[in-house]
């Protein structure tokens, strides 16, 4: 049983939970007095989300060991969504 929990994916999970708390911290009321600060925080929070998505995909969904076509599609999706959200945020 312990052997199972010492697997890489358990470590990944711990990292994901920490990243969640980090995002929450980043977004909490602090000295958000400039548009630039808010924008950078947004890019960081979305970036953390994408990193989390990547680990869920590669390790939990086992895309890391999947045929290359799927890995490419997954990477393209992540880049496209991050770009889309950042661009639309800036344009807003």
């Amino acid at each position: 049983m312990e052997q199972l929990f010492r697997q890489r994916i358990t470590l990944v999970w711990a990292g994901l939970v920490l990243a969640t708390l980090l995002s929450w911290q980043l977004s909490s009321e602090s000295a958000f007095d400039s548009t630039l600060a808010r924008a950078l925080t947004t890019f960081a929070i979305l970036g953390v989300a994408m990193i989390k998505v990547r680990y869920v995909g590669l390790d939990f969904m086992e895309i890391r060991h999947s045929p290359r076509a799927l890995r490419i599609i997954f990477d393209v999706w992540m880049v496209a969504v991050y770009t889309e959200l950042v661009v639309l945020y800036i344009l807003g």
Binding site: M1, Q3, L4, F5, Q7, I9, T10, V12, W13, L16, V17, T20, L21, S23, W24, L26, S27, F32, R38, T41, T42, I45, L46, V48, A49, K52, V53, V56, G57, D59, F60, M61, E62, H65, S66, P67, L70, I73, F74, W77, A80, V81, E84, L85, L88, Y89, L91, G92
Partner: protein, 206 residues
């Protein structure tokens, strides 16, 4: 113990699409991945429409966001992340022929999923009690639609986990068992993955 020495090792290419490169295989089968990618693209469009709409209503969106209780969402994120871990561990336990551990882990995953549903119900109820519904303003239209459609996926995923659980308890090591297990697992991870973006998008961006 992860596996017993008497059980034969599960042939990894017995289920899923094997490729000629050793160690590379598609979990489940192509159909679930078409569904998963298609669903992810659909949500990507929702996310984009949300962000675009936010651009014309920044003040109202931000004001409405402040009424959300981030705590609910953080708990929900940890619940889904944990449920995904349990599912991933269960799949590995099943492959390692651990007959007792795999179904137990699926139950833990399902409990987390049910926790998410309950938490969402409380959150929605709290909003309705305060007179906030999806017609209140554009932000809430997106909030209830995006989280509502996601919630629907969670419920479908839980039904899928019931099938996964049933298959992890089957004593015979037929390739068809692993197929159902991996298909259900992949869908569940997608549900987690989508929430990982929904959470900051709705609750954290200012």
């Amino acid at each position: 113990m992860v596996g017993t020495s008497s059980a034969p090792a599960q042939d990894p290419s017995a289920a899923g699409s094997a490729s000629s490169t050793p160690g590379i295989r598609l979990p489940g089968e192509t159909g679930i991945w078409v569904l998963v990618i298609g669903d992810m693209v659909a949500f990507a469009v929702f996310f984009g429409v949300f962000m675009h709409s936010r651009g014309s209503n920044v003040v109202m969106f931000d004001e409405s966001r402040r009424n959300l209780h981030v705590g609910y969402a953080v708990v929900n994120t940890v619940l889904l992340l944990s449920s995904s871990l349990f599912v991933a561990l269960a799949v590995r336990a099943y492959r390692a022929a651990n007959q007792r551990l795999a179904p137990r882990l699926i139950v833990f995953a399902a409990v987390c999923g049910l926790g998410f549903v309950a938490n969402k119900a409380i959150e929605y109820h709290d909003k309705f009690e305060n007179g906030i519904t999806f017609t209140t303003n554009t932000f809430y239209l997106f909030f209830f639609t995006i989280t509502g459609i996601h919630l629907f996926h969670v419920i479908i995923g839980l039904i899928g986990l019931a099938f996964v659980w049933r298959n992890t308890r089957r004593p015979e090591r037929a390739p068809g068992n692993l197929l159902v297990i991996e298909v259900g697992a992949s869908f569940w991870h997608m549900v987690d993955l989508l929430w990982i973006i929904i959470f900051p998008l709705l609750y954290l961006l200012r």
